[in-house]
Amino acid sequence: MRVVEMHDIVKDYPLTRALDHVDFALDSGSIHSLLGENGAGKSTLMKILYGMCTPDQGHIQIKGQSERITNPRQAINLGIGMVHQHFMLAPVMTVAENIVVGSEPDTGLLFDSRKAALVVDQLIARYGFCIKANERVSNLSVGEQQRVEILKALYHGAEILILDEPTAVLTPQEVEELFVIMRELRKAGKSIILITHKLKETLAIADTLSVLRDGRMITSGLSIEGVSADDLARMMVGRDVDLEMTNRSKTIGPISLQVRGLTLKGKEKNILSDLSFDLHRNEILGIAGIEGNGQSELIEVLTGLAKAEAIVFQHEGTTLSGDAHDFIQLKIGHVPEDRSTRGLIKEMTVEENLMLGYHRSPRFNRRGFFRPSAVRDFAQRMIKDYTIKTGSSRQRCGSLSGGNQQKVVIARVFSEDPDLIIVAQPTRGVDIGAMHYIHERLFELRDQGKAILLVSADLDEVRRLSDRIAVMYDGRIVSISKPGEYTETQLGLMMTGSSVEGCKDDNQA
């Protein structure tokens, strides 16, 4: 039975057609993967289904009934629930309180917290979610918070669940747990739409799939059987993409960056404890680890944004010190992990962002004033070289898609010809096409003799790109070795601290 049918949906935004006569159908009791690159229209289509925006054309049927969904409340009443990429939970409140909000049980006048906890406990038990109703949300891991979001949708009577990029924030183990939950829900008769651009996950969990590209439905309701990752990539990108591209360095050069005994104290405990490693020219050193284990702070120290308590820190034999400006001058490039907080200034134009950090260079200005033609020419060249999709170099950078914003950051750093590049989450929120491009550029730079430090939460990315992998857990490097020497499971375990008992003992001693 079809629980959702969307016919001939059209949605226009100024100058672009986000959805171009799109048809979509969801079978009851199935997991349907909605695939597409960033900006393909996946989220827009689902926002229309959830009533967060209205289509310019087309109509929707829920369980055979024609419906006009104009706001999320209406969608919830129709049994549609959505788990957003960014959780919408109140961290100081309990799991139960977060779940029942919107239709709370009451004792006539007051909120009935006991009944809420009871109802939520039943719900948790029914689907085997392994969380406590009375726990504060702030004490939960990201994966557990996601389960609270799912429960919230179920509590409100969702029969149709939309999960927006649910695995983007999870570790490999948590992804497995999520899949178990999804199968459990399918068994209970729920229908699930999984918005994603990850092929592996689609192949692992989905029954059927649809692919969107540039607002058009390329294939709709295709059964997963007999489909390969390469097929999917071709449908998504529109051409062949080599997904398994790896390219190890042929020669490892001399030491470029030497770090010894790096320690950074936090309020209660050390954020970074006694980190030591070498980074060679012609080498990509990948840092694997779950976010929040000191990677961000490591980057800040290595780029001059934070001062460490203890460190011996040498780049090409000279000891490093100073602030971000000095580090940039020393030809240390930095692709920040979060482009919207540290990487870009969204309110400013593409050309202004393309020179950020290098804007004092005499090629851009004379006597304190910019040379507009020099700035423009440089921006045009970058837009061309790095295939940045933008209307003009004077467009507001925030109006670009995530992938193109990332290309602006990449273009800015790579074109400066740095000796040492610190690259964090280079392909987060970036589509396959742009990802492939960024990876190739990284290989290219490495082969030119640059030293590259790669920090990424995407384990596949770290494994494919790195010549050596360092695993970080709790502010320490627990292991450093060649990628071939780890299995994915081993890496996952080390990232969660399971096989580092030795380190923990040291701590107590």
């Binding site: 100058l15 971000a324 000095d326 870009l344 400013m348 004033f369 507001r396």
Partner: protein, 360 residues
């Protein structure tokens, strides 16, 4: 549609600019309509009121001159607020910085160095700017060094500045006579009147020139670029190696200098001396001006003129009708409300929505 498309092709900047101008204009009109309704409720004739304001602002050449005279300090104070805002700093202290500028200018202007006007006048102006800059620079320093909130420190320093200048004008610098004011400035320090019998001086054109210079600095210079970077995204600016603290202090210095100029121009062009309590709140009204100007230095010229016209008109309103001039403040307050709540304006005005649909 084609026009929209062309605007987009120009990088969307023009579109953004026209949209801003439209929103500011709509907010102003809406503020006047709502104020008119309130007048009507209070049993005053709004047509009579706006008629009087219009006559007072544009009725004859003298009225126009008055509009420009009233606009001048508002352009300076509006610009001072706008400059700080570019670095995401809220300079509530424009009023106090203006008082410091005024007293410094009045002091230098009244001293007899035997200097010719070409030297004495610029020297007096310079002292005004420096005095304002120092007070604002202190605010910037406190923020950068000790993390004090500039909103609070500027409010406190306003009181301090107004009282210090009040003390100076009451004791060490007091002119003979009953009123608390300094000696009259020397003729060599006076801003010359442009036309016989009119109050209008070169100060008005200096204000426009300063607005234009600030526009260029903000949009075309390295300093302006760094100020905007700090204003929009402090973390990104830090990552790019921009010295955030220094940029904030420099921004406050410039903002304070412009605020000081407001005081200097009033002393040299209008009052000819420092008078205790000379400002009817020019510093605070500068916030309204900046809001209407949508933080654009060129917009400040026009917003200053509009508020200048309202203020000039209020004189005639006061003289010829029974309608309280407080309504001028009501209009200004509504302008701020509507400018700072663009969605409210879009909701109130149905044709705005219709147009959008039509565009598609």
């Amino acid at each position: 549609m084609t026009i929209r498309r062309n605007l987009f092709r120009n990088g969307g900047n023009l579109l953004a600019a026209t949209e801003t101008i439209r929103m500011s204009t709509l907010s102003l009109l809406l503020a006047m309509v709502v104020s008119a309704i309130i007048m009507a409720i209070c049993r005053y004739n709004p047509f009579e009121a706006f008629g009087a304001i219009f006559t007072g602002a544009f009725g004859n050449s003298r009225a126009i001159s008055q509009t420009l005279v009233h606009a001048t300090p508002l352009m300076f104070t509006g610009l001072a607020f706008t400059i700080a805002k570019k670095a995401s700093l809220i300079n509530i202290g424009v009023e106090g910085q203006m008082y410091m500028g005024a007293i410094a200018t009045a002091w230098i202007g009244a001293l007899d160095f035997g200097l010719p006007a070409v030297l004495h006048l610029p020297l007096a102006i310079l002292f005004g700017a420096v005095a304002g800059a120092l007070l604002a620079g202190l605010v910037g320093f406190l923020k950068v060094r000790f993390g004090s909130n500039e909103v609070i420190s500027t409010i406190v320093l306003n009181t301090i500045a107004i009282n210090i200048t009040g003390y100076l004008a009451n004791y060490p610098l007091k002119a003979d006579g009953p009123t608390a004011q300094t000696n009259r400035i020397l003729p060599t320090a006076e801003l010359p009147r442009l036309f016989q019998g009119y109050q209008l001086t070169a100060a008005f054109f200096i204000a426009i020139a300063v607005c234009a210079i600030i526009y260029l600095v903000m949009n075309k210079s390295l300093l302006g670029y760094e100020i905007r970077c700090v204003g929009y995204n402090r973390l990104a600016a830090q990552t790019a190696g921009i010295p955030i603290g220094r940029v904030m202090v420099v921004t406050m210095l410039i903002s304070g200098a412009v605020a000081g100029l407001a005081g200097a121009m009033l002393v040299l062009g209008v009052d000819k001396r420092f008078i205790v309590g000379f400002s009817p709140g020019y510093g605070y009204n500068g916030i309204s001006v900046a809001a209407l100007a949508a933080d654009n230095p060129i917009g400040v010229v026009f917003a200053g003129l509009i508020f200048g016209a309202l203020n000039a008109g209020s004189m005639v309103l006061n003289r010829t009708t029974r309608i309280p001039t407080d309504f001028i403040n009501v209009i200004q307050a509504f302008v701020i409300i509507f400018v700072s709540a663009p969605l409210l304006v879009k909701d109130i005005l149905p044709f705005h929505k219709l147009r959008r649909k039509h565009d598609k």
